[in-house]
């Protein structure tokens, strides 16, 4: 008995998914840019491949990162992924060893017990059977968690669970049915033949006491095959596509491919690699502060996969980057969101099944412009020459104490500086970029670049992390860009500015664009430690919160922004600090409005701690006059 019609659904599904994978891979590879193709080739023959295998094992099967974040959720993912992997692996070995011949068709391994009902009676066979039952039990325990999560998300310790579309639901049910139907099919078969191990055997013999096991087994084998077949066929148009895609993602990432600023194979692979695990939803302040639960990255990925109009979702985000760092799959969520913002609304969003399987690349709305400059009114600027430029930025101009503190610090530091936007400068361009308007942003970038270049400076200091990020990333400048906290740290290290220790308890809020956005975590804290008692909060460094004032989100209301700010400030000031310190004028302004605690920029604290320059000057003057007298 080597064949039975019930295996047909499984076979169809399996071969479909295999062929589909090949075709899809070819398309993806073809769409890669030339340098990325080279990277991939190099990666294949280099360490990237080995690295990827390790990562695939750790992340795709074991789900190490999810385990770390949330053990129960991790276990659920692990039991399903790793368990299934083991089941397939050992099932194949089982069929190979104990089957009638070697190198069987896959269905022989999957439906081994059907074709070898007498197998597993004793000895090594029994031990192996026990092992296979153990794997099945492992999977079923995870499945139990998954089913519970669907109905009650607290089970796995999550606040929100992702919402599903119809095809996802069918795929989900077929996935759920796979293992219970295997269990029942195997149990009935075992029951009929009086074998099977602790799970299938015991269940089988018990069922056989009141049911005709032999007759009952066959329909469940059909159900098992049908569930598998359905699942495979639906796989490419559901979120379960992440299972195969993640392997590509890991390999591509290890080969050094990055998301970039245009949609392409990599962003496509990333989008499909999202398992909708929902960790991003949990991390999102829009969720836990203001209850917006339809715009998080998991939903964005899903909407992109579904060819939905994503512009509303794409723009409704603080761009704080919290989810980027928490994504267990390592998808570059913010860059993908930025791609969507730049893309604008799609011209046409018709959908069909075929589209689902072979999604056309994002059709970007053609910009209807007359090509003329939007900012041709900007005046010619000829800054005075200096070594160091200070660019306060728009937001700093609305927080004049920061501006004045920086002037004081710069004066005291003795560097030859020029306050380049003292009379009010031109925007750095990042706000436009955040709105997806890169072309316009580029005009401002060029304008500011020209001005910076003309000044002949070697260092550019800015007070605003928003400006800092864009200066670092999108300006092609031949100058060193420093955030003012970095500059102050340097001045302290060099001994250029002297400060008194302020006996104040300070908690530091890491601004999104400075911390997660630009990787500047330590310098601000070092400066604060130098002048005050820096306390830790629950939200440090990469886990820091967004103040809510972000220019990244244009969809939420002022009240919602305030709510986010209030919640964040409340968390940060739990230890009753004297000062809530930040390093961003926008964070300062946002927090100041919602907390009783004094909110201050680091520059303000430093300026306060600095020896009064007038006193210093006065003493120096006296000392000098004494020296002069002494000389006489």
């Amino acid at each position: 008995m080597q064949f039975d019609p019930f295996v047909i659904p499984f076979n169809i599904g399996l071969y479909f998914i295999l062929i589909y994978s090949v075709v899809r891979s070819v398309i993806w590879f073809r769409d890669l840019s030339r340098p990325d193709k080279l990277r991939l080739q190099r990666g294949f023959f280099g360490t990237a491949f080995v690295q990827s295998l390790k990562e695939i094992f750790l992340e795709s099967l074991i789900h190490r990162k999810i385990l770390k974040t949330n053990f129960k959720l991790g276990y659920m993912h692990m039991s399903l992924a790793f368990g299934w992997f083991l089941l397939i692996l050992f099932g194949t070995i089982e069929a190979d060893i104990f089957g009638t011949k070697h190198l069987n068709a896959p269905y022989k391994a999957i439906f081994f017990r059907f074709f070898n009902p007498e197998h597993g009676g004793m000895g090594f066979e029994a031990v192996y059977g026990f092992f296979m039952d153990l794997i099945l039990a492992f999977i079923l325990s995870g499945l139990f968690l998954a089913v519970s999560k669907r109905f009650y998300s607290k089970v796995v310790g999550m606040r929100k669970t992702t919402r599903l579309k119809a095809t996802d639901k069918i795929a989900l049910i077929s996935l759920w049915l796979i293992f219970p139907s295997r269990l029942l099919a195997e149990s009935f078969t075992s029951g009929a033949h009086g074998n099977g191990s602790f799970l299938t055997g015991s269940l089988g013999s018990w069922l056989a006491t009141f049911l005709p096991a032999q007759q009952m087994a066959y329909p469940f084998w059909w159900l098992y095959s049908l569930s598998l077949g359905t699942f495979f066929i639906l796989l490419p148009i559901t979120r379960y596509m992440h299972i195969p895609t993640e392997l590509f993602l890991i390999f591509m990432r290890n080969s050094g491919i990055k998301t970039g600023d245009k949609s392409g194979t990599y962003s496509e692979v990333e989008t499909h690699s999202c398992s909708s695990c929902g960790i991003c939803i949990d991390a999102c302040q829009l969720n836990f502060s203001v209850g917006i639960t339809n715009i998080q990255s998991a939903y964005l990925m899903k909407a992109i996969r579904n060819n939905d109009d994503v512009s509303d979702i794409a723009h409704n985000c603080l761009m704080c980057g919290r989810c980027d760092l928490k994504c267990p799959v390592g998808i570059e969520l913010s860059p993908i969101r930025m791609i969507q913002r730049r893309a604008g609304e799609p011209e046409n969003d018709f959908r069909n099944i075929y589209k689902g399987y072979f999604r056309s690349r994002q059709s970007v709305a053609l910009e209807k412009t007359n090509g003329s400059s939007a900012y041709d009114f900007l005046p010619e600027n000829n800054p005075k020459k200096a070594d160091v430029l200070f660019f306060a930025g728009c937001m700093t101009h609305l927080t004049p104490t920061i501006k004045n503190s920086m002037i004081k610090i710069l004066e005291a530091s003795g560097v030859n500086y020029n306050f380049i936007d003292e009379q009010g400068g031109v925007c750095c361009g990042r706000p436009l970029m955040l709105a997806g308007q890169d072309k316009e942003a580029r005009e401002l970038i060029n304008y500011n670049s020209r001005m910076i270049w003309k000044s002949g400076a070697h260092t550019l200091v800015t007070s605003c992390p928003i400006c800092y990020k864009v200066f670092k990333e999108s300006y092609y400048l031949d100058v060193e860009v420093l955030h003012h906290t970095q500059f102050i740290k340097r001045m302290i290290d060099e001994g250029s500015i002297k400060m008194n220790f302020l006996h104040k308890k300070v908690v530091y809020h890491t601004p999104c664009d400075l911390g997660r956005g630009s990787g500047v975590y330590d310098e601000p804290k070092d400066v604060l430690k130098h002048v005050s008692r820096l306390e830790k909060s629950k939200f440090e460094d990469e886990n820091s919160l967004c103040c809510g004032g972000s220019l990244g989100n244009m969809k939420i209301s002022n009240q919602q922004k305030s709510k986010i700010a209030r919640d964040a400030a409340a968390e940060l000031t739990k230890g009753n600090p004297d000062i809530l310190a930040t390093a961003c004028p926008l964070c300062k302004k946002t927090f100041s409005a919602v907390t009783e605690t004094r909110v201050a920029d680091i520059s303000e604290i430093v300026a306060e701690a600095m020896m009064q320059p007038s006193v210093k000057k006065y003493i120096l003057k006296q000392v000098n006059s004494i020296k002069e007298l002494a000389n006489i």
Binding site: H315, G344, E345, A365, E367, K368, T369, N370, A374, Y375, F377, L378, P379, C394, M395, H397, L398, G424, G425, V426, C427, G429, P431, L432, L434, A435, Q437, E440, L444, G549, L551, M554, K555, S557, N558, Q559, L586, K589
Partner: protein, 114 residues
């Protein structure tokens, strides 16, 4: 057309009934805070663009509401989206989104594309 050495002047009057207010409706639908403006002019006072060239967000705001789209279309691109206006606004109007939506609305309608 010109004849007899002059042409018939076009009035400056806003003709509310014949004006096309679809741009305004597009924004109203997507940004409810558009209703909240009390025309205080804080946004225009802080505006970088407004201090460099003829550009008043407050005025554009009202012109959109009245359906005087031409003038808005010619000027809305000058905004740098820097967000100072949003910070200054006493009524919590999401000014940046209004600019973005206005641009979007113009972009969508062929007759007004910018």
């Amino acid at each position: 057309m010109e004849k007899f050495g002059f042409t018939i002047s076009k009035g400056r009057q806003i003709d509310y009934e014949s004006n096309d207010r679809r741009i305004a409706e597009y924004i109203f639908e997507r940004e409810p805070s558009f209703r909240l403006c009390i025309e205080c002019g804080g946004c225009s006072a802080t505006c970088t663009t407004g201090n460099l060239t003829q550009f008043s967000l407050r005025e554009l705001h009202i012109l959109i509401k009245r359906g005087e789209n031409d003038q808005v279309r010619q000027n809305i691109r000058k905004c740098m989206l820097c967000g100072k206006c949003t910070l200054v606004c006493p009524r919590g109007v999401n000014t940046r989104n209004i600019v973005v939506l206005a641009k979007q609305a113009f972009q969508k309608s062929d007759e007004y594309a910018i």
